[in-house]
C-alpha cells in the first residue's frame, strides 16, 4: 500500500485497512492498484470502522449464531467418513457495483441461451458435429452423453431451466467463466442463507446501502415451475438423492422455502407412462421434476443399472412427454471441461455472436494444433481430463499445474498427451482476484470466485442478483473448494438508487387461493409416525428411569424388590439400569433424530434445533452422569427438553395429514407403553410401592390425590390410567385421539368405506370404554398393548406401502 494512503486513513476510529496488503499483479475487489477503496466499498468500510472491533465481533457472532440456530450444514467427506459441518460463512460480503453486475448478467444470459441451443443440437439434429465444429469422438466418449434420451424433445420445450456459473476475475480485471453447472446446480439455497446470516450481522448497513434483494429470483422461478405444471394435472416436486447427499440441507431448505414437495427416487413410480408419487392418498401425478441428483442415477432401467436412488421407468415417462425434468436428463454434458475450447466457434455458428464473457482459455489436445500449443506452453497451463465435469480448482486428484510438476512427472504427462491427446485439456492457469475477509480485527485479502444462478422464466432467463463467493482460507487459490476448507461470502449487488423490495409473500394484487397440501408422500408419513413413536418411547423410558433413580438415591440398594423388578422389566428393551443413561435410550433418541432427518423439509428450523439439542444433551450426559440423584436430575432435564420439542410441534405444526401421522405415532406408542408398564406394576405379584411408582410414571400423582380420597389401590390406578377419558395419560384418552385422527386420514378403498385401521380402532375404543377396572388384569393389559401395536400394521399397509 502506498504511503499516502496510510496518512489519509490514519485517525479513523478503527482503521480496518491498516494491514490490507493485496498481492502484486492480482486484482483486489476492495481496493484499486494504488490501495484506495473502490467507490462501491467506501461507505461500507466506513460503516464497519464506525462499529469498532468489539461491536463487529458481536455482530459477526450474531450471524454465526443464526446459522447454528437454523441448523445450516453441509456434508463433508473425508478420511473419517461423512460429517455434517457448519456452514463456513465469511462475514464480509463481496460488493459488486450494479453496472458491472449488469455486464456479468448479460454475459451469463447469453451463455445460458447458447448452452440451450448447443444441447438441443447435440441431442437433436447434430449440425455442430456435421460441420466439424464439435468433434463427434469427444461427445461420444462423455459419460454425460446419455444415449437413451437422444432425440427426445423436452416436454417443456427446453433442456435448461436452472444453471449456475462459476466466475473469477483475472489480472486484466475482466471476469472469466471458470466452470458451468447445468446438471443439478447446488448452492442457491445456501446463497439465501448467507444473505440472511450476513444481514443479521449488518442489518443497519444493509438497510442503508441499496443492495438488490434475492427473494424475487426465487419467486419467479417457483412461478415458472408451477406454470410448467399448469394444465398437466400434475404437480411440481424436487427430487433429492437423500439425506446422505452433501447438499441435502439445501434441498430440504429450498423445498420448504418454495413450498414444493421433496421426494426421493423410491417415492416415485411410473404407471401408465406417467410419473407418480406414492402418497397417503394414493398415486398422484408429478409433471415437473426439479432434480437434484445426477441424471445417470435417475433411472436404473435405462441409465446406470447400479443406481439405488433412481426411479425405474423415469426415462420412459420423459420419452412420452409426461414429465419435464429440470434440467433435462443429459444436460450435464455442458459441464464437460473440453467444451470450453469450442464455445467461441459454437457461438459464432449458432448465434452469430462473440461471447460477452469469455471462458478461461482452454485447448483440447485431441487436435494437432491445439495439442502442440499446450505442449509448448505446459508451464503456464493447468492440465486436466477433457471429460471432467469438476471445476479445475476442485479437482486436485487429476488436474495438475504444469509449473508444479517434477521433471519426471512432466515427461510422463507429455508422453500421455502425445499418445492420448483426446483425453486431455490444457487451460490457462488463472489467478483469481482477492476480496477482504475479517481476521482478528483487520481485513485481509483472500482469493475468491463467484457463483451466479440463472433461472428460466416465461419471460426469459432471470439472474439472481447476488449468489455466493467462495473465499480461500489462505492465499492459495487452489484451496477454494468447500470440501477442502473454503468459506462462503454473501454477494451484494449495490445500486446507487433505492432498489425494489420483493418478498415471497403474495402481493395485494395477486389472486389468492389457499392450496391444501393434499399429498403427503408415503415415506414422509412413515417417518413422521416413527418420529412420534420414538419421541414418545424416549419420554416413557425417561419417566420410568427417573422414578427408578429417585428411589435408588433414597434406598441406595439396587436389589430392593421394587428396583429389582424395574431392572428386570427394562432389561429386555436394552435399558440397563446400572448405567445412568442407558444405551437403549440413546438409541431410541438417535432413531428419532434419524427419522426427523429424513424429512427435514417438513420441519421448522426451531423444531430441528430442539431435537438436535436434545440429542446433544443426552450424548453429553452419557459420559458425565452417575446413577441415583445425579441421574434423577438429568432425567428431569431430558424430560423438560422433550416437552419443549413436543410443545414446538404441537403449537406450530399445521394440522394436516403430516401432523396427523406424527400424532398417531405418539398416541400409539403412549398407549402401548402405559399398557405394558401397568401390566407389570399392577400385577398381583407386583412389589410394594409399585402402584405409587406407576402413578408417578403416568404423571398422575396429583390427579389421583384429588380424584380419590384413598391411598392408591389397584382399582383407582387402573381407573385413572386406563379408563379415565379426561386424563391425557390414560389409555382410553390415547384411543379416543387415535379414533379421531384415523377417521380424518385420506380414505382408502373408496369414499364412505371405513378403512381396516378405522374399524380396528373403533372396536378397540368401544371395548375399552365399557370396561370396569376389575376387567383389566395384567393379561388383559398386555393383550391391549398388542392390539394397539397391531393398529400400526394396518396403518402401514394402507398408507406406507
Amino acid at each position: 500500500m502506498a504511503k499516502g494512503n496510510h496518512e489519509k486513513i490514519r485517525g479513523r476510529p478503527h482503521n480496518l485497512l491498516e494491514h490490507y496488503q493485496p498481492i502484486d499483479g492480482v486484482v483486489d475487489e476492495m481496493v484499486d492498484a494504488s490501495g484506495n477503496p473502490r467507490p462501491v466499498w467506501t461507505n461500507f468500510i466506513e460503516a464497519l470502522e464506525n462499529l469498532g472491533p468489539e461491536k463487529l465481533a458481536q455482530r459477526f457472532a450474531r450471524a454465526d449464531q443464526y446459522l447454528r440456530d437454523a441448523g445450516v450444514y453441509y456434508r463433508v467427506y473425508d478420511k473419517a467418513g461423512a460429517n455434517e459441518r457448519e456452514w463456513p460463512l465469511a462475514h464480509v460480503p463481496l460488493l459488486i457495483e450494479e453496472q458491472e453486475w449488469a455486464d456479468i448478467s448479460a454475459g451469463l444470459v447469453q451463455r445460458a441461451e447458447l448452452f440451450e441451443e448447443t444441447i438441443a443440437d447435440i441431442y437433436g439434429p447434430n449440425r455442430l458435429i456435421e460441420k466439424g465444429i464439435l468433434p463427434a469422438g469427444l461427445i461420444a466418449a462423455s459419460p454425460e452423453y446419455l444415449r437413451p434420451v437422444v432425440g427426445i424433445r423436452p416436454a417443456s420445450g427446453h433442456f435448461l431451466h436452472f444453471c449456475a456459473f462459476e466466475l473469477g476475475r483475472g489480472p486484466d480485471g475482466r471476469w472469466w467463466v471458470l466452470g458451468d453447472r447445468t446438471q443439478a446446480p447446488s448452492g442457491a439455497g445456501f446463497a439465501l442463507e448467507n444473505r440472511v446470516a450476513t444481514t443479521r450481522a449488518l442489518s443497519d448497513i444493509y438497510g442503508e446501502m441499496h443492495v438488490h434483494r434475492l427473494a424475487g429470483f426465487f419467486r419467479r422461478f417457483r412461478d415458472a415451475l408451477n406454470g410448467m405444471a399448469k394444465g398437466s394435472g400434475g404437480r411440481v416436486a424436487i427430487l433429492t438423492p437423500g439425506p446422505l447427499n452433501e447438499t441435502y440441507y439445501e434441498h430440504a431448505y429450498i423445498a420448504r422455502y418454495l413450498g414444493i414437495m421433496l421426494l426421493e427416487g423410491e417415492d416415485l413410480t411410473v404407471s401408465g407412462g406417467r410419473l407418480m408419487v406414492r402418497t397417503v392418498s394414493g398415486l398422484m401425478p408429478v409433471s415437473v421434476l426439479w432434480r437434484r441428483l445426477d441424471a445417470a442415477f435417475a433411472d436404473p432401467l435405462e441409465l446406470r443399472p447400479d443406481s439405488q436412488i433412481g426411479t425405474p421407468g423415469l426415462v420412459e415417462a420423459i420419452r412420452r412427454g409426461a414429465v419435464s425434468a429440470v434440467n433435462a436428463l443429459g444436460s450435464g454434458l455442458m459441464e464437460t471441461r473440453a467444451l470450453f475450447a469450442f464455445l467461441p466457434k459454437i457461438s459464432r455458428e449458432l448465434r452469430n455472436e462473440e461471447l460477452l464473457l469469455p471462458s478461461v482459455a482452454t485447448w483440447w489436445c485431441g487436435r494437432d494444433t491445439e495439442r502442440a500449443h499446450v505442449l509448448a506452453n505446459i508451464d503456464r497451463m493447468v492440465i486436466g481430463p477433457a471429460l471432467s465435469t469438476r471445476l479445475a480448482f476442485e479437482d486436485d486428484e487429476s488436474t495438475r499445474l504444469g509449473s508444479a510438476l517434477s521433471a519426471g512427472e512432466r515427461a510422463e504427462l507429455i508422453a500421455q498427451i502425445e499418445r492420448d491427446g483426446g483425453d486431455f485439456v490444457g487451460q490457462e492457469a488463472v489467478t483469481l482476484s482477492t476480496t477482504p475477509v475479517y481476521v482478528g480485527g483487520w481485513l485481509e485479502p483472500r482469493p475468491a470466485s463467484l457463483r451466479v444462478y440463472l433461472a428460466r422464466t416465461p419471460e426469459g432467463w432471470t439472474v439472481m442478483p447476488g449468489g455466493f463467493a467462495r473465499v480461500g482460507f489462505s492465499l492459495d487459490p487452489t484451496a477454494l473448494a468447500m470440501q477442502r476448507g473454503g468459506q462462503a461470502a454473501d454477494v451484494w449487488v449495490v445500486s446507487d438508487r433505492p432498489v425494489e423490495r420483493e418478498t415471497l409473500l403474495p402481493q395485494e394484487h395477486d389472486s389468492f387461493t389457499r392450496s391444501m397440501p393434499g399429498s403427503l408422500p408415503s415415506r414422509s408419513a412413515e417417518n413422521l409416525t416413527w418420529l412420534g413413536r420414538y419421541i414418545e418411547r424416549s419420554e416413557d423410558t425417561v419417566r420410568i428411569l427417573r422414578a427408578y433413580h429417585v428411589r435408588l438415591a433414597e434406598a441406595s440398594d439396587p436389589d430392593m424388590p421394587l428396583l429389582a423388578d424395574i431392572r428386570d422389566y427394562l432389561e429386555p428393551f436394552g435399558i440397563d439400569t446400572a448405567t445412568a443413561i442407558p444405551l437403549g435410550l440413546i438409541g431410541t433418541l438417535d432413531s428419532a433424530v434419524y427419522s426427523a432427518g429424513q424429512i427435514r423439509d417438513r420441519f421448522s428450523p426451531d423444531g430441528w434445533l430442539a431435537l438436535k439439542d436434545l440429542s446433544k444433551t443426552i450424548h453429553q450426559f452419557a459420559t458425565t452422569v452417575a446413577p441415583g440423584d445425579d441421574a434423577t436430575r438429568a432425567m428431569t432435564v431430558i424430560l423438560r427438553k422433550l416437552a419443549g420439542f413436543s410443545g414446538l410441534l404441537h403449537e406450530n405444526m399445521y394440522r394436516f395429514t403430516g401432523w396427523r401421522f406424527l400424532e398417531i405415532g405418539r398416541r400409539l406408542e403412549r398407549g402401548i407403553q402405559i399398557a405394558r408398564t401397568l401390566a407389570r406394576l399392577t400385577r398381583a405379584a407386583a412389589p410394594d410401592g409399585a402402584l405409587d411408582m406407576m402413578l408417578e410414571i403416568g404423571d398422575s400423582v396429583m390427579t389421583h390425590r384429588r380424584q380419590y380420597p384413598v391411598q392408591a389401590g389397584r382399582r383407582t390406578v387402573i381407573d385413572l390410567l386406563v379408563l379415565d377419558p379426561l386424563n391425557p395419560r390414560s389409555i382410553l384418552f390415547q384411543l379416543e385421539r387415535l379414533k379421531a385422527e384415523i377417521a380424518l386420514l385420506p380414505s382408502v378403498g373408496g369414499e364412505g368405506h371405513m378403512s381396516p385401521a378405522a374399524k380396528e380402532i373403533l372396536q378397540l375404543n368401544t371395548a375399552i370404554a365399557i370396561k370396569e377396572p376389575s376387567d383389566m388384569t395384567a393379561k388383559a393389559l398386555d393383550d391391549l398393548a398388542d392390539e394397539i401395536g397391531g393398529l400400526y400394521n394396518s396403518l402401514a399397509k394402507a398408507y406406507f406401502g
Binding site: 447434430n126 458435429i129 469422438g137 461420444a140 466418449a141 444415449r147 404407471s271 443399472p305
Partner: protein
C-alpha cells in the same frame, strides 16, 4: 439360411415379487444386408399390467413391461422366423490402425452406427493395460487382419468355462482368469481393440449349433450367443467376428441386438422387489427350416 428360433427365459423368485418393471431385449430386428425377420412374437406369463415396445438408441427392439401384482415367477417366450444372408467377406482393403484414426476423425456424425460410440471404454469393456498389451500382439496389419488374428488368439488362448464367470464379470477379470464364456471373450476382444484405437462393439444373438454326426439335435440345448463387431474403416465398415469360435460371423449367426457391451443388450434388465434371490433359466432352439421346392 432360414431359421425358426425359440427362446424361453424363466425366473423363479424365492420370495414373491411385488410388482416390478423390466426391459427385455430378445426380439431379432431386420438388418439390411444381414438378416430379415419374417415373423416374430413375444409373450409373458404372468401377463404384465403394462407393455410397450420401442427401439433404443442403437436400433434394438425393446419391450418394456411392468407388473403391479405379486408374482413368484416370470416366463418369457420369444419365437421368430429369420432369414440370414450375410455377404461373403471380400478382399481385405481395410487400412492399418494409424490410417484408421484419420478415417475415424473424418466421421462427423453421432448417428447410432457411427464408430465413435464404440471407441471409449464402457462399463464391462473398459480399456485395460494388460488386455491392450495382449492385443498389441495382433497389431501391425490391416484392421481386418488385426481383428481376425486377435479373434483366433482368444479362441486359442482362453478356456470355455461356464462356471468361471457371471453376467457381471468385466473384461479385465475374465482376462486374468483366462476363462469364461462367449460374453467374456467378446468383452476381452472389444477391450483389446479399443485399447489399440479400433472401435468395437458387442453383438448378442443366436448361433445354430450342429449336432454331432448321427445324433439328433437336442431341444433347447442352444444358448444365447455373443460376438464382436469391428469398425474396419470407411470402405470396409463394420465386420463381425466370433472369438468364442475363432471365426467370422456367418449365416449361422442370428443377431438380436448390438451395443457397446453386454449391458446395452442384456436380455432382461429391471429391478425386482423381492427380498429373496432369483433363479434364471434359459432355453434356446435354433432350427434350420428347409423349404420344399414346389
Amino acid at each position: 439360411m432360414l431359421y425358426d428360433i425359440r427362446l424361453n427365459l424363466r425366473y423363479d423368485y424365492d420370495a414373491a415379487a411385488g410388482g416390478g418393471r423390466h426391459q427385455v431385449h430378445v426380439l431379432p430386428p431386420t438388418i439390411s444386408g444381414v438378416q430379415r425377420v419374417i415373423a416374430a412374437s413375444l409373450s409373458f406369463a404372468p401377463s404384465p399390467s403394462e407393455r410397450s415396445d420401442f427401439s433404443d438408441f442403437f436400433g434394438n427392439s425393446v419391450t418394456s413391461i411392468a407388473f403391479r401384482d405379486v408374482h413368484d415367477a416370470l416366463d418369457i417366450r420369444m419365437s421368430a422366423r429369420v432369414a440370414v444372408s450375410r455377404p461373403e467377406p471380400g478382399l481385405d482393403v481395410s487400412p492399418d490402425i494409424p490410417r484408421l484414426r484419420v478415417e475415424l476423425d473424418a466421421v462427423r456424425s453421432l448417428s447410432p452406427d457411427t464408430p465413435h460410440h464404440f471407441l471409449a471404454a464402457s462399463d464391462h469393456a473398459g480399456v485395460d493395460a494388460a488386455i491392450t498389451s495382449y492385443a498389441q500382439g495382433s497389431a501391425g496389419r490391416s484392421v481386418v487382419g488385426t481383428a481376425m488374428d486377435l479373434c483366433s488368439r482368444i479362441h486359442r488362448d482362453f478356456t470355455y468355462d461356464g462356471k468361471a464367470t457371471t453376467v457381471r464379470t468385466r473384461a479385465s477379470d475374465a482376462f486374468s482368469l483366462k476363462r469364461g464364456v462367449c460374453q467374456d471373450f467378446s468383452h476381452i476382444m472389444i477391450a483389446g481393440l479399443r485399447g489399440l484405437g479400433v472401435p468395437a462393439g458387442y453383438v448378442s444373438g443366436f448361433l445354430r449349433t450342429i449336432p454331432p454326426r448321427g445324433k439328433p439335435r437336442l431341444e433347447g440345448a442352444d444358448a444365447m450367443h455373443a460376438w464382436v463387431k469391428v469398425w474396419c474403416g470407411r470402405d470396409t465398415g463394420w465386420q463381425e467376428f466370433d472369438p468364442t469360435n475363432g471365426m467370422r460371423a456367418s449365416n449361422d449367426h442370428i443377431t438380436v441386438g448390438h451395443g457397446r457391451d453386454y449391458s446395452d443388450v442384456a436380455p432382461i434388465v429391471g429391478v425386482l422387489k423381492t427380498t429373496g434371490g432369483q433363479v434364471g433359466e434359459q432355453a434356446v432352439d435354433v432350427i434350420p427350416v428347409v423349404l420344399e421346392k414346389t
